[in-house]
């Protein structure tokens, strides 16, 4: 029984991509899939994927889950690039609008 009428919209309707000035780019050749970037993303903009055609350091990595960045929501804070222990994430200047 619903006592209070509830209506809500998920905040993921808002795209926050226009907030950023630099964007993180993952170098999958250096990435070891440790998922530390996923762990520390305050915008939940780093997801987990599997089986994408990524550039792998070796064949062993092909079947592993890998982080990917959702550029619709990334605000470009740079925590992922700063926390990555293998320097696999670079912050790249966004091109001119």
């Amino acid at each position: 029984m619903v006592l209070v009428p509830t209506a809500y919209a998920p905040s993921s309707n808002n795209k926050t991509s226009s907030w950023r000035t630099t964007k993180p780019v993952i170098d999958y050749g250096k990435c070891t899939r440790c998922m530390i970037c996923w762990k520390f993303c305050p915008d939940v903009a780093i997801g987990v994927t599997q089986g994408m055609n990524l550039e792998f350091p070796n064949e062993r990595f092909a079947k592993m889950e890998a982080p990917y960045i959702d550029y619709d929501y990334c605000k470009g804070c740079g925590i992922c690039a700063n926390e990555c222990p293998f320097d696999a994430i670079d912050m790249v200047q966004e091109s001119e609008m």
């Binding site: 209506a7 809500y8 808002n14 762990k39 915008d43 939940v44 889950e65 804070c77 740079g78």
Partner: protein
């Protein structure tokens, strides 16, 4: 790769927090540990604006707004109402900032803890009233710049020491008290899982750095939270039904490492930094004494 923290997300992207916000990380980890059967209450705080305008919400669980002073009262009421409905397995969480805990909500918090409801009170400590524009709170540390303690010519920085609410809660003999940091999410989630086993009120204080309020670059949020623990400025401890455990890092760093990357401490002279170091050492000794069982008043 094995995931060191639960994979389920109960916080959604697209929220309106600043880039690099520490409070959203705190909520993300808390929700991962709490799970689906949770009711969250927030007073006026950054988290009251982070979900966005009505009808937006950033959490996948019920999320209730409450006036500034009444987080403790609201979680008490929700807990008792859920118990009446036979929903004892739901977690009731009050998620308040340091202003809503240390200053305005302290009375309701203390009363809820005294009545012994089975609730969680999470304080995300960003050390000032960040949502309204960085005004000092009683949880702001000594030496910090805020808009109500502007340094200026007369050097009116905050001259008083930080009020640590977790220490007050231990003095009140709350069954579960802990401090945690967003830089150590595994530890934070473990503490909440320990707290779930305790029947009664639970209080957890989480240090969550604020890039605009503390004047640092947004990429340093996690680094600063880690340095706060490594320099012993924000010691991590756990207090379960009278038993106190302190996390002891073997090689503490000097407090300069923590202070120098934050603009709010940029005006401090060497003597003032020395004073902060002495206070940190003194508090550390007190915590060690507490762990050995010596009563501290």
């Amino acid at each position: 790769m094995p995931f060191s923290i639960p994979k389920e997300e109960y916080m959604m992207s697209g929220h309106t927090a600043c880039a690099g916000c520490g409070a959203t990380l705190a909520m993300r980890y808390v929700m991962k540990a709490m799970g689906e059967k949770t009711v969250v209450t927030v007073p006026a705080s950054c988290w009251a604006v982070i979900p966005g305008n009505y009808p937006n919400t950033a959490l996948k669980v019920p999320f209730i707004y409450t006036p500034f002073a009444s987080t403790g009262a609201t979680i008490s009421g929700i807990r008792e109402a859920l118990n009446e409905e036979g929903k004892e397995d739901y977690n009731v969480v009050g998620f308040a900032g340091d202003g809503g805990t240390a200053d305005i909500g302290l009375q309701a918090l203390s009363a809820a803890m005294e009545r012994g409801h089975n609730v969680f009170y999470i304080m995300y400590d960003n050390e000032a009233y960040m949502n309204t524009g960085i005004q000092r709170s009683s949880s702001t540390p000594y030496g910090a710049w805020t808009t109500t303690t502007p340094v200026g010519k007369d050097r009116v920085y905050k001259k008083e020491n930080k009020k640590v609410v977790a220490d007050m809660m231990m003095a009140q003999k709350v069954p579960y008290v802990a401090t945690a940091s967003i830089a150590f999410p595994e530890d934070l989630i473990k503490k909440i899982q320990n707290a779930k086993k305790v029947k009664g009120p639970k209080f957890i204080q989480i240090l969550s750095p604020c890039p605009p309020g503390w004047y640092f670059n947004s990429e340093n949020t996690v680094k600063i939270a880690r340095l706060a623990v490594e320099t012993r400025i924000f010691p991590l401890y756990e207090y379960i039904e009278g038993k106190f455990t302190l996390y002891k890092n073997p090689n503490p760093l000097p407090v300069e490492k923590y202070l120098e990357i934050q603009g709010r401490f940029g005006h401090l002279s060497t003597e003032e930094i020395q004073k902060i170091q002495e206070n940190v050492n003194k508090r550390w000794e007190e915590l060690l004494d507490r762990e050995k069982g010596k009563v501290i008043t």
